[in-house]
Amino acid sequence: MTPHSIAAAFPPVDQHYLLQARQMQALSFSVHIPLVAFGLSFPAMVLFVEWLGRRRGDELYLTLARRWSKVMLTLFAVGVITGTVLSFEMGLLWPNFTGTFGSVFGLGFTIEGFSFFLEAIFIGIYVYGWRRLSPRAHLLSGIPIVITGITGSLLVIAVNAWMNHPGGFSLRNGKVVNVHPLRALLGNSYLWNELIHMYVAAYVVTGFIVAGCYAFGWLRGRWGRYERTALTVALTFAALASIAQAPIGDWAAREVASTQPVKLAAMEGPIQDDSRSVRAPSRLVSRQPAETCHPDPASALDPRRSQLERDGGGTRLRSGQPAAPGERGALVVPDHGGDRNIVRAPRRLVRRVLDQAKAPARVPVVLSGARFRRTTFGCGADRRLACDRGRPTAVGGLSSNADRRSRHGCARHPCRLRRACPRVPGGSERARLGTPTPRTSPAGPVTRILRPTKGGVGHVSSVATNGVHTRRAHAVHRARRRRPRGRLLAAPSRSRPARTERSRVRTPSNGARVGGEPCLADLRADRLLDLLPQGVRLDHVHSRGAPVHRPPRHPLSRRLLRDAGRGRDAAGIGTHRHAVRTVLDPRPRSHSARRSAASRPTACRSATPPGICGRAGSTRRPS
């Protein structure tokens, strides 16, 4: 089946109020998912405390478990309401999707319904059975809650994994035929890392929230044995889950990197959109601003992008100025709105955080909400500041949420724009669905429908391009084999000027970049939807407004860019007008950095196209 026939199978999506539907869905998910986290992990914590109390014969533990179980029941009830909203939204907001593919994934929701009912029944028995059932029966009645929580999330995540990686059916005339629901849902390789990541993240979220409540009580002077016990249990759960979440998250990130590079780029890089009304999700993990100007799926392939970034020592807050190239930002706020948008976090708070971060025990801090004093939901949720200074504990939990949100929030598609080592049996030729993405005006729709070009499949990229890919593939391979510590844990804050100066610049070699023209490679017959039919959208992967300019195709430009990458001339990166405004830059900066900053504007103009270097003239003083 050619991509054209598949594309013909789906008419272009022309849904009314598409943007509003997406926002509604995103809002519902972001309300529902934290409650799900409680439903997943809180029963186990309550049961553990009850078991401890029975075993030790200590009334205090039972009191604690009884109070927690009431919280558990309340949150479950709220989760039921938000989950009901979600299930209606599946049909009301996405009728075509559900109508077309409902027969494939509907089974998951059927079984999940049973699991939900069982959970509700046993939560009722558990909470109302305190002091009325025998101790043993009461403890046993809690176990189904834990199990059904896992099975319910398993099936919902199976649906999500299927959405990321559809399979178990074929398309004929736009109709889904030959459906194997079990294979579609449970035989999906994407399921396991998503499930485990979600499950561990649930412990992180619940543990830290519960521990936070008792820590707050501690500040208020409530610090008896009861509070100490509660804090110990919750915090231990959360901390250990955070440690385990680091390798699990890295595993998940590598899976995403190898199968959905654009999604990884979308999760990590600041994403621009045409209409200013939609805010791009900001990043949890700091990134060198230079790279944000080259949102390139190829660089998203680099597994190192999923690590938490190293950071130089002695950071401080800079605001109101565009980031200079070579800076390793640790506090990054993508600017969505008007110009001169400075970070709105009270500086004192950030400074305090940074002072703490200088201490040997580097505490990872995720600051949520840009305006701490009056957090507004829309802005606050978007402008999540990430200050990562060491162990990725807190980041892990939140990133899982953001991850899920980004997975749920928009129509998704397994668009594997390029695989890590794209190879096609035909040798150097890569099947390519090269697509100059249809450009719209800056005020146009947020999403782009990726269409196959007229060239369609079989467009052959040049040999030179292929060489670049091979080199990149080697780099990826090497990076995957690097010592694990470097990949996972952020290094201690030590000043590494050589590294911070170096910005790896990649030329968008064949036009395939986030923000540009995604190209499909590695077309395989068994993954029909990989061919990206017309009706399936890919959200948020294009640069804002300005059309993508490829760098001029002559050797000089490439050399300049390469030189820039080596820090000799930090050319024109990091100053895109949409780019990062606020950066905690490493201090002290070296003299070479000053030089390069001073010499940037010229080089920027000469070396990089306007789409990449929008704000050439704004020199930043390292003050």
Binding site: R54, R132, P135, W192, R225, R254, L488
Partner: protein, 255 residues
């Protein structure tokens, strides 16, 4: 002014839904109040059950005329087709419920009330048969065969688990176990402080963490990932017992 969402039929059906819910709730609560010998509560719920039953019946009968004006075919199929028995059963059950409630025979009234509501919903489905929506038959709306088989199996399997659980819940609730006096929570004499060898546990946890890390993040095969995830969960469990138990012991000692 009228749309497919807002029209006389939908308003009547919505009002009927609210009235039947109130009716069911009042009947059931009256039964519970009678069971608990709460005389005042029982009186007020009995009154409400009678009032809401009469209201629901009035809405149902009056609604027939409204719906007849709006959608003649629906009423015609309700009163002339195979739905007629269901409508008759619903009406009789409704009247019987009112009678039973006024006689204070609440246990029977429960079943009669649910029969009345279930019969009218079944009558609606029967009157529409074989279409599920105008222009869409059940056959057209059905999923492919394999999916249906899977769903039937899932529903049956789920029912095997769900129904006993539901029966357990109802037995506990209706038999009044949840209203009984509190039983002693603690079994005396179970005070045991297990001795935990923290050092061994901690080193096992670290070993698990390292193994899980290596298997999950350095190895590439899927079985290694599975074992690595298991190791990481083992790490959590062991480290948890190595940390929490001594900490709680310490708290207990300093109480």
């Amino acid at each position: 002014m009228w749309t497919s969402w807002l029209n006389p039929t939908s308003i009547v059906i919505g009002a009927l839904a609210v009235a039947t819910s109130a009716y069911l709730a009042a009947v059931y609560l009256a039964a519970d109040a009678a069971h608990d010998q709460e005389r005042a509560l029982e009186r007020s719920f009995r009154l409400r059950a009678l009032a809401s039953g009469v209201t629901a019946g009035a809405i149902a009968i009056g609604g027939l005329f409204v719906v007849n004006a709006d959608d003649h075919a629906l009423v015609h199929s309700l009163l002339h087709g195979r739905a007629l028995p269901a409508v008759i059963v619903s009406g009789l059950a409704g009247l019987g419920t009112l009678r039973l409630v006024s006689w204070r025979r609440y246990e029977l009234a429960r079943y009669a009330a649910s029969l009345a509501v279930a019969a009218i919903i079944a009558g609606w489905a029967l009157s529409r048969w074989p279409t599920i929506l105008p222009g869409l038959t059940v056959h057209q709306a059905a999923a492919p065969h394999d999916t249906l088989v899977c769903i039937v199996v899932a529903v049956l399997g789920g029912g095997v688990v769900l129904l006993p659980s539901l029966a357990l819940l109802f037995r506990l609730t209706l038999a009044g176990r949840f209203r009984e006096d509190e039983v002693a929570e603690l079994e005396k004499g179970t005070v045991t402080h297990p001795s935990v060898n923290v050092r061994v546990l901690a080193s096992a946890a670290v070993a698990c963490l390292i193994a899980g890390f290596g298997l999950l993040n350095i190895a590439d095969s899927s079985w290694a990932h599975a074992v690595g995830v298991a190791c990481l969960f083992g790490f959590i469990a062991r480290a948890f017992s190595a940390i929490v138990v001594p900490a709680l012991d310490q708290h207990s000692a300093t109480r």
